[in-house]
């Protein structure tokens, strides 16, 4: 059986995911609380309300950010 691997970048790092993945699944897999981050996919905002239905595609470039201390 051939595994459908999904190759994409997250915060500039190359990642391989096993099979179809939504943004919600990716965040859970990485260990992040979806309520505390924001996600950009190919330079477009992914609204938090759509994490569960946004399926990732090969080659996607994702940015996952949060708030940190700043002036």
């Amino acid at each position: 059986m051939i595994e459908r691997m999904l190759s994409l970048t997250v915060n500039g790092e190359a990642r391989m995911l096993a099979g179809p993945t939504t943004v919600a699944m990716l965040l859970a897999g990485l260990g992040f609380d979806a309520r505390k981050v924001a996600v950009e996919r190919n330079e477009a905002i992914v609204p938090r309300s759509t994490y569960g239905e946004t399926w990732l595609s090969p080659g996607d470039a994702l940015e996952i950010v949060h708030f940190i201390g700043g002036g």
Binding site: N11, G31, V65
Partner: protein
């Protein structure tokens, strides 16, 4: 009974930015602290209702690391996301769109900086980024040079607060050009804040005495030997400066004027 005198700001009705009303006239940054516990304690001591925050990539290698939000509750103090590190309008818009999604608000602090060692506001890039952000529905509080022409342009574009530097970011040099700051205050209809350069309490008081609506600072608290104590000093300085502004200072005169009457003196 606690006979403590109420803080001077008791009869200050606060200030409004972009339709939001705030009682504290001190905005503090959340950077440069030893740890999140100290950050939270300093904010508490400062009385600030708004704190600036930066937007950065999460650390994929350490998803369990504590986050600012775990210590500083965005429901209790308002997060004002900044564009620190952005050098173009496009980067600023991308960053603040992410911030808007992370926090759900559109009030933001725009700063587009030139290179070290001055990190002076890049006004051409700032104007371009402000235009892009306003077009995208953001309410922009803008860090800028103490340049009355550029400040007027930013205000005319629709920026909701004008925030000139008192001195370079993180320098702690205080209000270096009070005359120009006074002129900026005079010409500006939206809130005018000093952002950057405050080094100690008297600097914040001077800014408020000149008539600023509020003061934004970070390093002066975070880099003090006792940040919590300096946070309290800043709260009191901003309140004192505001009260002095409202009271109206006495006229300066060249020469002495005795405080005690010269009549009724005993004579030999």
């Amino acid at each position: 009974m606690d006979q403590r005198i109420e803080p001077a700001a008791a009869d200050d009705d606060g200030w409004t930015v972009a339709g939001r009303r705030f009682r504290s006239r001190l905005i503090v940054g959340t950077g440069k602290y030893k740890d999140f516990e100290q950050t939270a304690a300093a904010i508490e001591a400062s009385g600030a209702e708004i704190v600036t925050v930066a937007v950065r990539r999460v650390n994929l290698a350490d998803p369990g690391a504590p986050m600012l939000q775990d210590y500083v509750d965005p429901k209790r103090v308002m997060y004002l996301p900044n564009t620190a590190g952005c050098h173009t309008a496009q980067e600023a818009v991308r960053t603040l769109r992410l911030a808007r999604e992370a926090g759900g608000w559109n009030l933001v602090k725009l700063e587009v900086l030139g290179p070290p060692p001055t990190l002076y506001p890049d006004m051409a890039a700032t104007v371009e980024a402000a235009a892009a952000l306003i077009k995208d529905g953001f309410e922009v509080m803008v860090y800028c040079a103490d340049d009355p022409v550029a400040a007027k342009r930013l205000e005319a574009m629709g920026c909701v607060a004008i925030m000139p530097l008192g001195a370079p970011i993180g320098s702690g040099l205080g209000i270096q050009n009070p005359a120009m700051l006074s002129m900026l205050i005079e010409q500006t209809e939206v809130p005018l804040l000093v952002d950057a350069g405050v080094g100690t309490a008297s600097d914040a008081a001077i800014a408020m005495e000149l008539g600023c609506d509020a003061v934004l600072l970070n390093s002066a608290i975070a880099m003090a030997k006792d940040p919590i104590r300096m946070a309290r000093a800043m709260r009191l300085a901003v309140e004192a400066g505001r009260e002095a502004f409202l009271a109206g200072r006495m006229a300066r005169r060249m020469g002495a004027d005795p405080s005690s009457p010269l009549t009724g003196l005993i004579r030999r």
